[in-house]
Amino acid sequence: MKTESCLRYLEDPEANAGHLADCAECRALFGEHDDVPAKPLALDALPLAPWEGASHRAWPLVISGIVVALISAAVLCVVAGMTPLQVVERAFKSVQSMRAFVFTSADALREASRGAQIAFAAAFIVVNGVLVALLRRSPRGIDA
């Protein structure tokens, strides 16, 4: 883009098409580049993307997995002499202990001193502040 001729070509490329033959710089920028050898793209050499083959549904494997788990559960329940209701009750035991922990802690907090309540409030704000700061980071997954 140094000469008057280059500027004239930029203003009207069709009328000044002959300029490309004279100026190497403009030819490199706007030329056809027929001399550049086209590199063949080997798709198989590229790494496997996570979505390739992901939509395949392996029903035999899925059904056999579910059947094995259900039969094992049924056999073990029969051996242990448990009804489905008892299984559900036992499964929710951890939820009940969690609920008891939260309610006990809330009761303790109500009866705690003002200083302890302020310390709890500070911990609550700090933890949630750090959570918000960590959530602001964008996920890396695909780019990693």
């Binding site: 549904r57 392996a58 329940c77 242990a80 809330a106 933890v127 890396r140 997954g141």
Partner: protein, 220 residues
């Protein structure tokens, strides 16, 4: 801001680990496992515990299959995230579990003021959804690590062992099997839960959208 984060993040993670450990630890101390002195009652209790664990595993597999069929792409995105930045997901999971617990205590504190009950219910629903989605993402990640396809030749040669659904089921069976091991199993399952909650929140349930809108002042 960055300096404050450098100070607060390790302290919060240490605190979060403590809180998560307190919650995850069993209410009753585990009896010393000695096969020679085991009573019939203890053996029956162990069989019952195994029956409950296997029944829960069956439910987890059904939930994982349903969720993967409904939103396979999102589960895959979260699974990729947990493998690509595991430490971030783990840290986020620890802090999120602590935040859930502290928030639940605050909402329970507010129960006498009536707003506590709906807030506590909403928090519980959100926590349960996060845990279920996150666990399914961890199942997918575990399945992909163990039995994932590494090359196109492998992909072409495999008939069953490929696809999101297969990876999720394999991961669920693997982690469910590990969960049956005494002492080690619940620890591994608990760690998987922390990873799962972390990855669910880090990827916004696989949607990879920001949680918060960035404020940009209008240029003059």
């Amino acid at each position: 801001m960055r300096r404050m984060l450098r100070l607060f993040v390790p302290l919060t993670i240490a605190g979060a680990t403590l809180v998560t450990g307190m919650i995850a630890s069993p209410a009753e101390p585990a009896a010393k496992f000695d096969l020679r002195s085991i009573t019939l009652q203890q053996a029956a209790s162990m069989v019952q515990q195994t029956a409950v664990s296997v029944s829960l595993l069956a439910v987890w597999i059904l939930a994982a299959v349903a969720l993967t069929l409904m939103s396979g792409r999102e589960v895959r995105a979260s699974s990729t995230e947990v493998r690509a930045s595991a430490l971030h997901c783990f840290t986020l999971g620890l802090v999120a579990v602590t935040s859930f617990v502290l928030t639940a205590i605050v909402f329970s504190y507010l129960i006498p003021f009536f707003v506590g009950v709906p807030l506590l219910f909403a928090l519980a629903v959100f926590a349960v959804i996060t845990k279920i989605y996150g666990m399914v993402a961890v199942f997918h990640a575990a399945g992909s690590i163990i039995a994932g396809v590494r090359s196109r030749e492998q992909l072409a040669s495999r008939k069953w062992l490929r696809g999101d659904l297969a990876m999720t089921v394999i991961g669920a069976l693997l982690l469910g099997g590990i969960r049956l091991i005494p002492v080690v199993g619940p620890i591994v399952w608990g760690l998987a839960s922390v990873f799962g909650i972390g990855t669910a929140l880090a990827t916004k349930f696989g949607r990879r959208e920001p949680w918060f809108l960035a404020w940009r002042p209008q240029e003059a």
